[in-house]
Structures are given as C-alpha cells and as structure tokens.
Amino acid sequence: MSEIQVTPLNAFHRRHGGRMVDFAGWDMPVQYKSILEEHKAVRQRAGLFDVSHMGEADVKGPEALKFLQHLVSNDCSKLFPGRILYTVMCYPTGGVVDDLLVYMRGADDYFLCINAGNIAKDIAWMQEQAKGFNCTVTDRSKDYGQLAIQGPKAVEIVQTLTKSVLADTKYYHFADGEVAGVKCIISRTGYTGEDGVELYCAAADTEKLAEAILAAGVPLGLELAGLGARDSLRLEAGFPLYGHEITEHINPISAGLGWVVKFDKGPFIGSAPLQADKAAGPAKKIVFFKTGDRRIVRAGSAVLNAAGAEVGQVVSGTLSPILNEAIGSALVDAAAAKEALQVDIRGTKLNLQLVKPPFVTLKKT
C-alpha cells in the first residue's frame, strides 16, 4: 500500500479535533465530537464535510459526449450546460467500475466526480475506453478541494458568503461562482438526502473556504461532520456506496439502480448483460431493512430465511440516529426477498423489516 494521502484540510481537521482514520488510503476525520450528534445536526441544521478526497476528471474533445454515452449507463444526451447527471460505469459483465456525477460545462467539455478509493482504477479504465474517441480524459483530483455543506440551513449559510443566488440553481444543477472570495463550482448536490451544496475549489483555497463557512455557519447551528455521519446519512437516505451496494459483482439492476440504466440510448459498456438481467430479473437484489432493535447489524452478517438457511449477506449497517434503531442493506437471493428474513446477532434472532428507502422523510429539494 502506498503512503496515506491527505486532503488540503488535514491540518484543519486536526486543529478542530477530528478523529483521523485511514479511509480508502486517505487520512480523514471519522468524527469530530460524535457521529450521532453530527448526523442529527445535518438533519436538523447543517453540517460541513471535507470531501476533497473525492476524485475529479475532465473529459474534453469533439467526441466527449459520444465517449461518455459509451462509458456510462445513464443518458448523457439529456445534459445541457449547468446540468448534472448521476450514473454508474460498468464493466462488460455489467458489474460496476464506479458510480459518478457527470457535469456538462459545454458541448465538448464535461467534468466528472468519482470515488476517492477508485481514482487510479477509474482514470486508467476511462483512458483505456477512450481510445478511438476524439477526446481526452484527464485526472484533476489533486487540483481540487471539495466541501459539502448539507442540511436545512446549508443554503442559507453559504448564501451569506456569495453574490450568486443559490436558489436560482436547482437540484442537480451547478454554476461557477465565488464563495468567501474563493472561485468555486457551486453544485446543488449531496450525499445526505438534505438540501445543500457541494463546492469544488482550487486545492490551495480549500482551507480558507472551510474556515469561512465554519465561521458563517456556527451561529446557525452548523457543525463539522466526519465520514461516520456521512455514511449513516447516506444509508438513511438509501444512497448506494461503492464497495457495498454496488461493486464489480453487484450490478446496477441488482442494486435497484435501474433508473440510471438507459437502454434506449443505444449500447454502452455492459448494456447487454444488464438488459438480460432486467428482462429475466436479477438473481440477487439489494434490499434495505430496519429491525426495531438498537443492535447494529454489521456488514458481512448472514441473512437467514425462516428455516435458518443463509440467503444473503448484509452489505451496510448502522444505527439510524433519527429512527433510533438499526438500519441496513443486504444482498439477498431474489427469490428469498419476499420471505421472512432474519439475522442472528450474538445468539439473538432479529427479524428484518424490509423498507423502501429513504428511511426518514427528506425535504424535497
């Protein structure tokens, strides 16, 4: 394993009491004070997350759109400048290389946001697939810092620091602007299910931007939030995490992401097996559950049917700080998904109550 990587906010995290852990090769704060309190702050007020570990890439050239349509499952022809699309890119098997956001800046100019742990793999994959297309894929991950400000007060907080009218930029749209004197891509996106923005800025400006947002936000109840809360918030919202609900072996149809797989746009990498899976129904599927109990059902736990036979495995599990009970997701045999399912935690059998996420009511943005 190569040396652990740091974001431009490493000193900021230490100064503000972040408890640092190795996340996918990055030295990141899992929490500052309390995962549960940071989670609640985001649902009730606002949280500031360092997401500078996320990767970025430029896709530029006359055939950028043609390449992206070949690369990803969603339909990039629906994009227009200022619009963002959530999608996955797949292997020829249909398994997932990564999930990503595609930003359209102009006709030949797209910007991608990819997962931190997948940067090297994704860049290599995309550059290989781009051969034969008149476009370039450039890794920009080290050039950008990224902050996520999320929660019902997030927009109000950031609005105090910018002349851009944030309300004019709708959900999954973006605009260039200045926040606290720092040039940013202002993106109305997030990974919590709350209203908010994600700001991409030059790596060297990230700390200045973070301090300004913290100072503006604390009077309105903003708290620094770490990766622990980021994970529990995304699971409560029912969003997939690469390596859990989607992997090289869990395709988007199994994961319940059929809405980002557009067969009518024409063939793309992995489209044939995905179409077959969609037609026949996937052999395994991701389900979300709650238990009515506070014991966390950890990833890797066996999912059992009424007869006690293993019919799947938990892929994500945490305590919902809002519901005050364990929530999670599991990959189960599709045939078993209609049966009564259980897990065994240290000898206690708990019934899984299947839930269509989100687990909590989210404000529409």
Partner: protein, 127 residues
C-alpha cells in the same frame, strides 16, 4: 486527556471497579474506553444473580464503529444491572464513572481489588 478518578481501581481491559465498605462494588468502563469506542448505541448486560469470574466476559458494548466485549475486573455475583442503559446507552459516553455504571457486584473477595491497577498505573498503561 482521559479522566481517571483517584478512588477507583482499573483493569487493563479498561473497566473500573469502585469498592464499597460492605464488599459490594460498581463496575463500568473508563473514560478512555468510551472515548475510543465512540458513540455507544447498545449495551448487553448479564442477568442479576449471574456469578462472574475475574476476567470473564460479562457483556457487550456496541458503538457505531464496533461491538466490544467487556470483562469482569473481579469475581463476584451480579446484584444489579444499570437498566437505564437500555434506553440511554450514551450515558456511558457522557458519564462513564457515574450514570454510566454497568453492574453492581457482590465481590467474592473484596481484597481482589488490590490486584487491579492503581489510577497512576492505569494512566501509564494508556499512555
């Protein structure tokens, strides 16, 4: 810095023991332990009447991060468990030496407490 009260004895596995004059003792986990575990979400405790050996697992403390066994710092019989922790396990985070106590034991041999770490030695053991 971890809080290590001077009137308690400590196990290397991060439990504390507070011995009363009548040979009973309260057991909990240390401030260092609760801080290392992070947000505590669930605590499984033994039944009243259970006989525990020194070093025996008496329960499980779950945090968002992991589930950890907890060990009896001395031999004894469980007289009482802190039922308030069922609904409010976070009390172990906020008040590990007070409202976050876990067990009241009738010690098999009150002198056993002498074999546990002093506050100074426990402080050294956690660096």
């Amino acid at each position: 810095m971890s809080n290590i009260p001077a009137d308690l004895r400590y196990a290397k596995s991060h439990e504390w023991l507070k011995v009363a004059a009548d040979g009973t003792a309260l057991v909990g986990i240390t401030d260092y332990a609760q801080s290392s575990l992070g947000d505590i979400t669930f605590i499984q405790l033994p039944k009243v009447g259970a006989a525990l050996k020194a070093g025996e697992t008496f329960g499980v403390v779950e945090s968002v991060k992991a589930a950890s066994d907890v060990y009896a710092p001395a031999a004894g019989t469980v007289l009482e468990v802190n039922q308030a922790l069922d609904a409010n396990p976070e009390k172990v985070n906020s008040l590990p030496y007070a409202d976050g106590w876990m067990l009241k034991l009738q010690l098999a041999n009150p002198a056993d407490a002498g074999a546990l770490l002093s506050p100074e030695d426990y402080g050294k053991s956690i660096g």
